[in-house]
Symmetry: C2
Subunit: 722 residues, 2 copies
């Protein structure tokens, strides 16, 4: 029965995947859709198709993805994307290499054992009740204390060694990738700046700016360029956003006027639905003029009066900036704290004014909130997972029995319901975690993404994987567990085999439907065409409609991590999952390579700082796998399970060594990297300007607007020359 449901679900998914593939081939060749399937190429000013679209083979994208080099990815999508592909290919390598030895050895060993048949009716089999034919291929089929368990023990070692090897190689590779990108001969603005926070109150009679300038000029008399004091921009931002909105509306009104020759009108009240009717072009022109005046007044006020305790400090060379970003500036560590400046586009300005110990307190507070949230989510998820097992559903709600008896509905429900429930549950979370991460006081978006991704990882592993696994058992036989108040590891280990089919289906659903939708981009396509047809008029608006955004690592990485954790943990218990893991990461690599080259536009560049984060979590998953296997071999009464203890210790040592050897290189810019020569001497004024927030930048080239908060290099130069 269960095997049937499993195969049906697999078949349906595969069919949907094929349909989506076909749709992609068909749709992506239509010129009207070019901005949906090739936005990254368009924005980079390249020809979307590179050659004739008619002679194109339907599967040309596969060839293109496979032949693209890492340097292509770096060029078109940045180092972060390249690092993400290192992650995919590393995990693919781990699973593929593991499979090579494990599938041909473990599957026959499991299939030929007679344990199940013999103990079919004995109550102590670990998978009573829900047993299916799939289990014949799993470790559940191995007799207790059997010497065949040696092979399974060896498999744990093999997978671990493969993982260490691949991770070490990958870390080295990513480290080089990062170094190469950082030693770029092009001017990277943030390499010339540092972010200074926790600036103490200036002495009497000095402004923040003067205080900051004199502090840094004392330390770096020759290489200090100027500083940009962070200001409280809430009000000016609001005015600026209003202004931008009016400009858009004006452009829209003008576009309508150009197209229809009728002067468009609008109402001035709530949402444009109530109030006086006015001529749009005139109305918005007035509003714009008004806002511009307001903006200028507010800009001056902000620069003069709303200086905060943080600043971006600019230097005339990269080495000094790299040195300064790593060094202690004040004897009191909680003042004048420095870090590398983030890219201008990813600075979270509103966080910069938060003080040192406030940040620490916020951080721990948020860890606490996340822990609470994990616990809180556990309850509904456990309930969903338990209720959605059909057998349990029938027990709980007896009157649905007749419905369930219809085979088709039953099969559909059995195969999809739990997984879909889970996916919906998880979809509600990321925004909340992102909000929490930003509240920690983190200064850059990429860092916030890493923090959110980390939280999401613990979330998904603890709630989905362990939660689903344990909840099923708890619901099944709470009594049985009470009788043996064993350790959590044993309970987890006992419950794992029963859920193998669930997770096999989950992984398959993820790669068939998930990647099918990813490649075909059906949903963005539909939304784009609807918006284009009914809503947007100007070119800017249309561009907004198709602008693809980035790969959104904050959710993508943890979701891959969950698959990784599942595959690791089942790799020896139900080796078949390795095939699914290989497909997931292989297909993922292929499809996302296409998307990275042609679709997504990175919204920031952190030069691979995601990697240590990914590395640690891969190791954490491996660690969980080793602990679970230790527990499960214990459940199988295999005394040599203790041989896994050294392996667990090795994992910890490996993690420690990697951290010591590589991590600092990701946290800071190494000097040997920063000291490379530039192609041309950088334009310091341009670098400085790239950090000025939009709402404060002016279109006039006059400098007087910044005299409040920004140091006047010219003045200083004049003084020192005198």
């Amino acid at each position: 029965m269960e095997l049937e449901a499993f195969l049906l679900s697999l078949g349906t998914s595969a069919f949907i995947f094929l349909v989506l593939m076909f749709l992609f081939t068909w749709l992506s060749r239509r010129p009207g859709n070019v901005s949906i399937y090739y936005p990254n190429r368009i924005l980079k000013g390249m020809d979307p198709w590179e050659g004739s679209s008619l002679t194109r083979n339907s599967f040309a994208w596969i060839r293109e993805a496979l032949t693209s080099s890492e340097q292509d990815v770096v060029k078109l999508s940045g180092v972060d994307t390249a690092v993400y592909f290192v992650f995919l290919s590393t995990v693919l390598g781990i699973f593929a290499l593991s499979s090579l030895l494990i599938l041909p050895i473990l599957l026959p060993l499991a299939a030929t054992d007679k344990s199940i048949k013999n103990t079919r009716n004995v109550t102590d089999t670990t998978s009573k009740g829900t047993f299916s034919q799939l289990d014949n291929l799993s470790m559940a089929n191995i007799t207790r204390k059997s010497s065949r368990l040696w092979a399974f023990l060896g498999a744990v070692y093999w997978i671990s060694l493969v993982t260490y090897f691949m991770l070490w190689k990958a870390y080295k590779h990513v480290s080089t990738l990062r170094a190469q990108a950082l030693m770029s001969a092009d001017t990277i603005p943030e390499q010339f700046a540092i972010l200074v926070r926790d600036i103490p109150s200036p002495p009497n009679g000095q402004t923040h700016k003067e205080f900051i300038d004199s502090f840094f000029r004392d330390i770096y008399p020759e290489t200090f360029y100027r500083s940009l004091v962070v200001t409280e921009n809430r009000k000016v931002n609001k005015i600026w956003e209003g202004l931008e909105g009016y400009k858009k509306k004006l452009a829209r009104a003008e576009a309508i006027f150009a197209a229809t020759s009728n002067r468009p009108t609008n109402k001035t009240g709530l949402l444009g639905l109530a109030g006086k009717k006015v001529d749009s072009i005139e109305y918005y022109t007035d509003l714009i003029n008004e806002s511009v005046a307001k903006l200028e007044t507010e800009q001056k006020k902000v620069l003069a009066e709303k200086q905060e305790t943080a600043a971006i400090v600019f230097f005339t060379d990269r080495v000094t900036a790299a040195l300064a970003a790593q060094s202690l500036h004040s004897q009191m560590v909680d003042t004048w704290t420095v870090t590398e400046a983030p890219e201008p586009r990813q600075i979270l300005w509103e966080n910069l004014n938060i003080k040192f110990f406030t940040r620490l307190i916020r951080q721990y507070l948020i860890y606490f909130i996340v822990a609470i949230t994990i616990l809180f989510y556990m309850i509904p998820i456990a309930f969903v997972s338990a209720i959605t097992t059909l057998a349990n559903l029938q027990k709980a709600i007896p009157f649905i029995k007749p419905v369930v008896k219809i085979t088709f509905i039953r099969t559909i429900l059995e195969s999809y319901l739990p997984q879909i429930a889970l996916i919906i549950f998880l979809a509600m979370l990321p925004k909340f975690l992102m909000f929490l991460s930003k509240s920690e006081g983190i200064p850059s978006r990429s860092h916030a993404v890493r923090a959110a991704s980390g939280k999401y990882f613990y979330f998904s592993v603890l709630n989905v994987f362990i939660g689903v696994t344990l909840a099923g058992s708890l619901f099944d036989n709470l009594k049985a567990l009470e009788q043996k108040p064993n350790s959590i590891v044993t309970v987890l280990a006992t419950s794992l085999p029963k859920n193998a089919t669930f997770f096999l289906t989950y992984v398959a659903l993820k790669f068939f439907i998930g990647y099918g939708l990813e490649l075909s981009r059906i949903i963005p396509l539909i939304i784009f065409h609807l918006k284009k047809k009914y809503l947007y008029k100007t070119e800017a608006e249309v561009k907004e409609a198709w602008y693809p955004g980035d790969l959104s690592y904050a959710t993508r990485v943890p979701s891959d991590m969950l698959i990784l954790t599942i595959t690791f943990c089942y790799s020896v218990i139900a080796p078949l999952i390795l095939v699914f893991g290989v497909i997931y990461f292989g297909l993922g690599w292929l499809i996302l390579r296409n998307q990275a080259l042609k679709v997504y536009v990175p919204s920031y560049e952190s030069y691979g700082r995601m990697w240590p984060h990914i590395h640690t979590r891969i190791l954490a998953a491996l660690f969980l796998f080793q602990v679970v296997m230790f527990g499960y071999l214990g459940v199988k009464l295999f005394v040599w399970a203790t041989l896994l203890v050294p392996l667990i210790v090795i994992s910890l040592i490996f993690g420690y060594v990697c951290r010591r050897k590589f991590y600092l290189g990701f946290q800071h810019t190494a000097l040997e990297v920063a000291c490379r020569e530039l192609k041309q001497s950088p334009d310091h004024e341009e670098i400085f300007r790239s950090f000025i927030p939009h709402s404060l930048s002016t279109h006039k080239p006059e400098d007087h607007q910044f005299k409040g908060a920004m140091s006047r290099y010219q003045d200083y130069a004049a003084i020192s020359a005198a």
Copy 2:
């Protein structure tokens, strides 16, 4: 009985102390002893007595100690010594402030409770058997569940708050002290240098020196001065030491010749006892000439062929050196690792070549060895402590009963035996711990001293304090403990009151005898006079005989820490100990102030880097005290003992906040400190030369000897000028 023994021991100690004080007053005024009582002043070129010795009051030294300012201490003995006095006065302050509230409240509360009298014959009193009159003044006298325990609970809070306050103040003060010393307008050689280790193999055709120079010249084109490659000096050191020995012997022979007009002779064989008789002056002159030639050959060889993977790199200004010492130089963190250069005199050259991960492995290995040693020492100490309780001694060795019956012997044994046994045991340890710490691969002596001091602290607290306390109980009633397999905290808490008298005696012994000997310097005095009379002839030899050495923090600080821990832990249980603690630290401050100003000569200067180490351990002692009190109030069945849990958490948070706020300022030189201007521009060549090991330095001013391992700044300057 026990009170009598206690008072006798106290009286004897006080008497010995007075005798030693008298001896000091008498001896220190005799001109012949001036080099024993005023060596630091002599070496600093000051008048030992500052005025007439005849009009001097016997207690003038006390006035001098009390009126000396912190700046005097810094000037005469360095920042480290000043920091040590901050430690003494902080602890003194903690205990004095605590006493103010605790003695007048807790002592009457304890004395007026009737618990003991009521339960005198009941077996469940916590101090059955060994109970004495002293216990009337301790918490042991409080009835269980009594509401008087509230006062004791409050006392724990009071002591903790006082400690937080004093520690915070002290940390701030020491931080300023360090900053002031580091921003000195004088040239401090190590501020212009960094220590580079883990240098990778140079590319083909380059020497280590060339490789290092080009690496740093790339990064610091303007501020790099030159480098000094560390060499393998074992052989050259040996030759140099031989040479120095011969020089001394020649000087001695010449001194004898000058005094007696007889040409001295010696035998060339084993220890000067066997072999041919030769004329000493000729013989040693020959040997010296021979050695000088050998030294020169070996020096050249060392510089050319024995370059190691470490170097001292010099910069032309302090800020660059401070920046460089804190920054990551290589993308691979385990290569080109940098730290601030230690003072030349405290560099442990033989450790510099040890590689990054080897250092890590050694460190953990040594932690493991120390843990084992602690366990191993526990056994004999526990045995000694148990056996040396007279009652136990009688049980164990029945035939000593008649001896013990003689009151005098019995009393002496009872009061001194255990403490003396303990002191001897602990005296055997420091050298071993110092050896272990140096083996970790630490580059500087001051760091090794801190590491050894840390180990000694854990040692003394775990073995002496906890060991003695627990061992006594275990020996007394192993059975009783087996019946209630309680937590270690409860066991410790139960055992504490019984050992109060032991530790009171221990502290008294430490300050009366310890500080008496310290001040009077009887032993160095005797050794000096013996050596001067019978052994040493030349002035250099005599100076060697009276050279006082430093305060030897590696043993002094942990021994103070042990007293501190004891006083903390008993401060509420037996408040009388606070008086002893105040005397210990007060007397210590006074006597050591005298010794620091007049006697000891610091052998290194680490600018107060000892402080974070001391701070952490004071907090650790406080933490132990809080945990023990939590246990003991629990033993007293006082339910509000749980109110101590927040206090324990506060201690952890306080430690964390202090670490975050201050620690980095002690690990690195803050830039605001390094950027102060110097009185005069430094002589870079002199700075460089101060780092050359004695065995490699040459008396000739020619540079050619260094062309192998040291970079030729002149050459480079010539090239770059060309």
